[in-house]
């Protein structure tokens, strides 16, 4: 009889289910610490994030996963009293270098938020806003093309092509979230950060977003923060588990969900958190 697992090579650890891509990581974070006033929200986190992969951040509420996500495009700059140390590079550029322009950084690192937040403007203007402020287009025709391409990429074009003038807020929740994704794509970022993008959506809309993420990872580095471990397992190739501001464990999603190395990860994903 064949043993169910026969391929182990003597003396080596089992290989990760998804081999690390050959290319260097897109985002490299080293010894990142974040303080909110006196609160030490992120403790010495080092992580590599690769292109053409979905990386999921999981962990209990208040573990710092959203904070760390926001550190990656300096959205925490808006927050009063937030301090970041350590080094984070995006394709080699230190994103906390004072010479690096935060506006430019956010054009390279797009973001999709927990609650769908289209601007109270038309669908067209929502998508066109980013290209407009960054001056990406020279003509109306070019802008039209970007809007159409982004909406197509976000799998929303067929649903809205006849009503681009209608307010984005009139769409359903799932459509609004796809509109927000289209809006982020329109700026042609390298990285898309998603902060619990499906937490306000029903399962069907969630499935559409997840399908979209799988599609988008061909071209973008995607990082998703999610409360749903099933979602992390479904959409991501790599998973990082945060707990109390520590990055406890990072590895291939399959490894994290079948044989996590750390007791805390194990307890969290099996639902044993005390």
């Amino acid at each position: 009889m064949e043993t169910p697992f026969s391929s182990a090579q003597p003396g080596t650890a089992p290989p990760p289910a998804v081999p690390l891509p050959n290319e260097p990581p897109s985002i490299v974070a080293r010894n990142v610490n974040v303080w909110y006033g006196d609160k030490h929200a992120i403790k010495n986190v080092s992580i590599d994030i690769y292109r053409r992969q979905v990386t999921a951040f999981i962990g209990p509420s208040g573990c710092g996963k959203s904070t760390f996500l926001r550190v990656l495009n300096r959205m925490n700059d808006i927050i009063e009293g937030c301090r970041v140390t350590g080094k984070i590079t995006l394709d080699g550029d230190d994103i906390y270098d004072p010479r690096l322009d935060v506006v430019q950084l956010r054009a390279r690192v797009g973001m999709v938020f927990q609650k769908p937040n289209p601007f109270p403007k038309s669908i067209y203007d929502n998508v066109a806003y980013g290209p407009r402020i960054h001056g990406l287009t020279r003509s109306k025709k070019e802008l039209d093309e970007i809007v159409e391409k982004s909406l197509r990429r976000a799998a929303l074009w067929d649903e809205v092509k006849d009503r681009l003038d209608e307010p984005g807020t009139a769409l359903s929740g799932g459509q609004q979230q796809r509109l927000c994704i289209a809006r982020a794509i329109a700026v042609s970022p390298d990285v898309i950060l998603m902060d619990e993008p499906c937490s306000a959506l029903d399962p069907i809309a969630t499935a559409k977003i997840e399908e979209l993420m799988d599609e988008l990872r061909q071209d973008y580095t995607i990082i998703i923060v999610t409360h749903s471990m099933q979602q992390a397992a479904r959409v991501s190739q790599r998973t990082a588990f945060f707990h109390l501001g520590d990055l406890v464990e990072v590895g291939s999603t399959e490894q994290i969900f079948t044989r996590p190395q750390d007791r805390r990860t194990q307890d969290y994903i099996t639902g044993r958190f005390g």
Binding site: M1, T3, P4, F5, A8, P10, G11, P14, M229, Q230, A233, I256, F257, T258, R259, P260, T265, Q266, D267, I269, T270, G271, R272, F273, G274
Partner: protein, 238 residues
């Protein structure tokens, strides 16, 4: 390990482990009794064992049902997922152990009707190793003891060696006297069944390691069963 936040999840997992341990207990007992019946040439006892195989099959299905329900309703992750998946594998292995024990019992019924010509001592000795392995496996499962499971896995070598010895000796008996062929053939199958049970015990040990650590055994499994290559020359002058 800490308890689940959802207590009923813990209870369901505990029930699954109980089912497996009951299944293991019955399979172990079936093997022990089958070998005892063989030694005592006790056809009644053997018949009883054959009847009880149905119970084992029922328990195996129950374990599978429980595992499927856990998968569907709880979406277990990590160690829980491994336990549930491992449980399905263990249930199948244990069910096979029961089947082999029943098969031994059936052949014992036949052997009991033949004159006692061949010693079953070697098979008994071989079986003792396998019984020990099976017991240790179940203990390892109950106690989450990976070391013990590892030791079972390593003992499979001894079984294979014992089996080779039995195989060769039975071949010689058959060559000595053609009347021995019928009991020897049955005994050969019995020995093979015991050896297979040993393999299943090894599987169980591997599954236990998978359940506990999510890892496979670190070395290639020792395989010393060279009976497929065995050639015994008939003694000269017959």
């Amino acid at each position: 390990m800490a308890d689940h936040t959802v207590r009923s999840f813990d209870e369901a997992l505990e029930r699954l482990r109980d089912t497996l341990l009951r299944l293991g207990g019955i399979a172990e007992k079936a093997l022990t009794e089958a070998i005892a019946a063989l030694a005592k040439r006790d056809a009644d006892m053997a018949a009883h064992i054959v009847q009880r195989d149905a119970e084992l099959d029922g328990l195996c299905r129950l374990a599978e049902d429980q595992a499927v329900k856990l998968l569907a309703l709880r979406q277990p992750m990590a160690s829980d997922l491994r336990l549930v998946v491992g449980a399905i594998r263990m249930a199948l292995d244990l069910e096979r152990v029961g089947d082999y024990a029943a098969n031994i019992a059936k052949r014992t019924i036949v052997l009991a009707q033949l004159p006692p010509a061949i010693s079953v001592g070697p098979i008994q000795r071989m079986s003792r190793i396998v019984q020990e392995m099976l017991k240790d496996t179940l203990d390892a499962f109950a106690a989450h003891d990976v070391e013990k499971a590892q030791s079972v896995w390593e003992r499979d070598e001894q079984v294979d060696e014992a089996y080779n010895a039995v195989f060769r000796s039975l071949l010689t008996y058959m060559m000595e006297d053609p009347r021995n062929i019928t009991p020897c053939a049955h005994l050969l199958f019995i020995a093979k069944n015991v050896e297979r049970i040993g393999d299943h015990a090894t599987n169980l040990a591997e599954t236990i390691r998978f359940i506990e650590l999510g890892e496979e055994m670190l070395k290639d499994r020792p395989k010393r069963d060279d009976s497929p290559f065995a050639i015994v020359e008939p003694p000269a002058g017959v």
